[in-house]
Subunit: 181 residues, 2 copies
DNA sequence: TGCGACATGTAACATGTTACATGATTCT
DNA sequence: AGAATCATGTAACATGTTACATGTCGCA
């Protein structure tokens, strides 16, 4: 369902696009909210044509490009979904799982694992900051599309990095205490 | 892969358990890191027996309970996974998607959507706080298993709630500005 | 005795990823 | 001419959810 809404939303905001273009948009700011590969996108577009949420048009070029456009029914679907309370699909977070399991290791090793985790999140944060600059350079300053999600991506990466750092610190303290014994 | 690790980790920390018990543990603190239903757990346990990560024993009671125990090979799998950098399976976040699409609505409606989002995250935060108290009452104060993940869950819910609130505020400001025009 | 929790398992389905397959256009 | 990118699609597989199917045990 959510993939469908993500595709409709992108079409509603940026205008008609091909499946290929939609796939590439999942590499930009919307990446922080949703993603999909073309192997999932093409079948979904076909389903949406059938159900009337979008229309197709053959671009008529040799490549067989197909341009998709949202219909009013499609726009209604977006509004309904946004107003719904679809939330919390099961959380599945490898970092949190690592935070869980790390206590099975001796504190020194555990701390090293969390320092590595911190580094990964710091790198992710830099990535999001870069993406933000890119988006800001490309879009009008008063166009908030993607801004809110970008802000969330930034906060999330920061939060994860700090959590990993503090967890590492805590484990390092524990290791030291153990040494003194 | 991660489900397998989550199951092994739980067995390693709490000791041998049945599939049913493992399923119930996914409703406690590990819920903030990973989850699974019994429909996924039983087949996975069968696979792990085959590959030697766990052993089974029939409890011998009429209910046909089967108790699973981690093997050394299973423990090794955990350590390897924790030390790996398995991270960032595609982010799929309905809240962020809502933050994306909300700008397609008029500011007043959009603000209402984000206020509802704020309320959902505030409720989630309360839930995690409650879970934390429960865990703290049940486990020894120096047993950090689950504590780090719980802390992350707390931070995440707080971050999401604040983000939703600030986004709502921004949209409310926009609506007001529009009214004055 | 009947209900709810305990207990295991499978089947059907939905979602998501990777690999395979094919061909056009553009740039060097 | 060859490589990279554009462009669409399907098949095989992995993961996750829901529904179906079956039976036990403890308690009111």
């Amino acid at each position: 369902m959510s993939l469908r809404i993500a595709l409709l939303g992108t079409l509603a905001h940026h205008g008609p696009a091909t499946g290929y273009e939609l796939a590439k948009r999942f590499d930009t700011s919307i990446n922080l909210a949703w993603q999909a590969k073309h192997g999932q996108i093409y079948p979904e577009l076909a389903r949406m044509v059938k159900s009337g949420a979008v229309t197709v048009e053959n671009a008529g070029d040799g490549r067989g490009r197909k341009v998709y456009t949202v219909t009013d029914a499609g726009r209604r679907e977006i509004t309904e979904w946004v107003n719904g309370d679809d939330l919390y699909r099961g959380v599945r977070n490898e970092s949190a799982l690592r935070g869980f399991l790390v206590t099975l290791l001796p504190p020194r090793e555990a701390a090293a694992v969390m320092r590595a985790e911190e580094a990964r999140h710091a790198a992710k944060l830099a990535e999001v900051e870069h993406l933000k600059e890119e988006v800001e350079a490309r879009t009008a300053p008063d166009d908030p599309f993607g801004r809110y999600a970008l802000e969330l991506g930034l906060r999330n990466a920061t939060m994860m990095r700090d959590w990993a750092a503090e967890t590492a610190k805590d484990l390092e303290n524990k290791a030291e205490k153990e040494d003194r014994r």
